[in-house]
Amino acid sequence: MARAAFRPTASISDVIDFSRNHFELFGLPARFRLDGPVLDAAYRRLQSDVHPDRHAHADDAVRRIAAQSSARVNEAYRALKDPVRRAQYLLQLHGVDAGAGAQLPVEFLEQQLERREAAAAAVAAGDDRALTALVAEVRADTRAREERLADQLDGARAYADSRDRVRELMFLVKLAADLDAMLVTLEDR
């Protein structure tokens, strides 16, 4: 990194130090359980320092670095704010790729298949109440699983063993997004 080439605010040079992980960037412990408001406040504080609008009068080099830094802070915030992305990132920090081919339990897959069938039936019947209830059920299931995952990650620190649980959550997030899209289509009719 060409860090010595210019001297902007201290915050910018901290942010473009790519050896720091997302948790370190926000000054937070690398854990799954995370204080949302503390993350939000740290995010706003960092953006207040590095956002290109704060350097609108600096020279081109500083403005370019401000844009890159601001984009990096946005990326880090996105990775940590959402629980499932945060779990994936935490695993990645411990050398575990949550995306790599995992074998999910048959019961889990069957349950999701049933939910998809129920959603399709609700759409066919134009029953948006049933679909809304199904979305709520998937969300509640997701939250319960996140709680169990938190114990596994922050308590037992069982990163490799958590991989399949994280994958199940990724599966549920995709399901919830698809059901949401179906709900939009149903409401637009």
């Binding site: 939000d40 406040a41 706003r44 953006q47 956002h51 704060r54 939009v184 409401e187």
Partner: protein
Amino acid sequence: MALLQISEPGESPAPHQRRRAIGIDLGTTNSLVATVRHGLAVVLPDEEGRPLVPSIVRYAEDAVEAGYTAMEHQARDPQNTIVSVKRLMGRGLADLADARRFPYRFVDAPGMVRIATRAGVKSPVEISADLLRALRARAEASLGGPVDGAVVTVPAYFDDGQRQATKDAAQLAGLPVLRLLNEPTAAAIAYGLDNASEGVYAVYDLGGGTFDISILRLSKGVFEVLATNGDSALGGDDFDHRVFCWVIEAAKLPPLSPADARQLLVKAREAKENLSEHDEATIAATLAGGAVINLTLTKAIFTEITANLVAKTLQPVKRALRDAQLAPGDVKGVVLVGGATRMPQIRRAVAEYFGQPPLTNLNPDEVVALGAAVQANKLVGNRERNDDWLLLDVIPLSLGLETMGGLTEKIIPRNSTIPVARAQEFTTYKDGQTAMAIHVVQGERERVADCRSLGRFELRGIPPMVAGAARIRVTFEVDADGLLEVAAREQTTGIAATIAVKPSYGLSDDEVARMLQDSFAHAADDMQARALAEAQVEADQLAEATRSALAADGDLLDAEERAEVDVALARLATARAGHDHAALRAEVAALSRATDEFAARRMNRSVARALTGKRVDALSD
């Protein structure tokens, strides 16, 4: 004394001078320009005190008219009087489902539609630039000098092509654009700074031709846009058109001439505006053929014939809340923006949906321009009280690439906070493939055909490898204006073939060059004159210095050397009499080279003179 005028690097020569910053709301129906004066955002009115500029441009016989002047002629000269040009920005004829509603002579062109006028074929960018020139003139008259920086607002739901077209129009009008700002966000700035609010706010912005909804969180001086949604082809114009259709049906009118159609549309708009205050409105007109129309439109009928338009605005509202993962009850206040939100049925629908009456303490016509002025004032560097705030906005639509089978691969999802940069790797699918076509698209649909195409480019020079071995990294970068740049690079070999595209909306390079030439022809003349004047000053200084040096120390040169300098001096004098600044600069450089050795000998002589009479040991430390 010249030396006393030297200022510190980076410091402007007059640090206390305020810079002229303006915010422009470039609307479908009306436009406004505002500035910050004594810490307060104010709209700049014309000499008659009118704050709005009707967004109408007329190409008259020998002049371009904009605003009220153009409006007066719209019914008489409909084909050369362009209204609602914002609806055409970045749009092809195929995009305009309602092309028949416009009385213009459209010319189909790749990317963006054109209009044939008596002043020639005009693109929406040029027409918008003519409108922006009028706003710029108003601002310069009011502020007493050229504008240093402008923030121009765009609907949050504008895609990349529409944004790029708006920015080009502003540049064509000679405005230094500091930022494109989303209209609802501008309104939130005006409201937030006025009321020092904290919490989640919804901005419901129904303009003349566009609808936007933005959900923002205001916290400790940070305006964070959580989600935005909308419909870039739905606005107050559509309500006028419903009334217009109702009149045609109720009066059983045959197909209308462009002039009659425009007259009736104006009457329809007046009736709509009257119904915000009264229970009924009269629509009276005499058409060119002599037919007399005299109808009464009641509030009840108006509400009924526009009910589905009102309902149509609530779908994007629901989607935005869902994307922000919030419920209507989480919203602390709803801000109404746009003249169309004066319609009582809109206010009722919004109040019902959010369970609270909307905020209307700022003028819905002015609030966007005021917010833009505040942002412009900050970006241009004028210091104010309470200016320690920051805006974090989002992109409205997902950005992606076409992959095999005509499907879209999303690289940056909608509602991502900007600036944002994201990369994804792709590979070759054939042995020895040396090029890869990259097609950039914007939209939410799975199929490329259903998304908006932003641009295509080709990455060439990939070294031949077996299929799947190349690693092509495609990087998407969206800046703080919401504008995209795409770059592609082959990773494995270290041979980096990189290309960057700015997605275009279909104006060809030639067209852009011609427009810029038209608009900057005078600026270019000015630059020539300036360059020549600078070169002349330099030539005179060097010639004078050379002559006085020859007079003082001419004996340092032998005859041949002296002749060389004299020739260079004579050539300089010849170039000085002409108008070619490049030729003059060349002669300045030649004389300078011819006198290098002479200057060095003079330096030695003056050092020797200075040393005469000094003791050697005095020099040793």
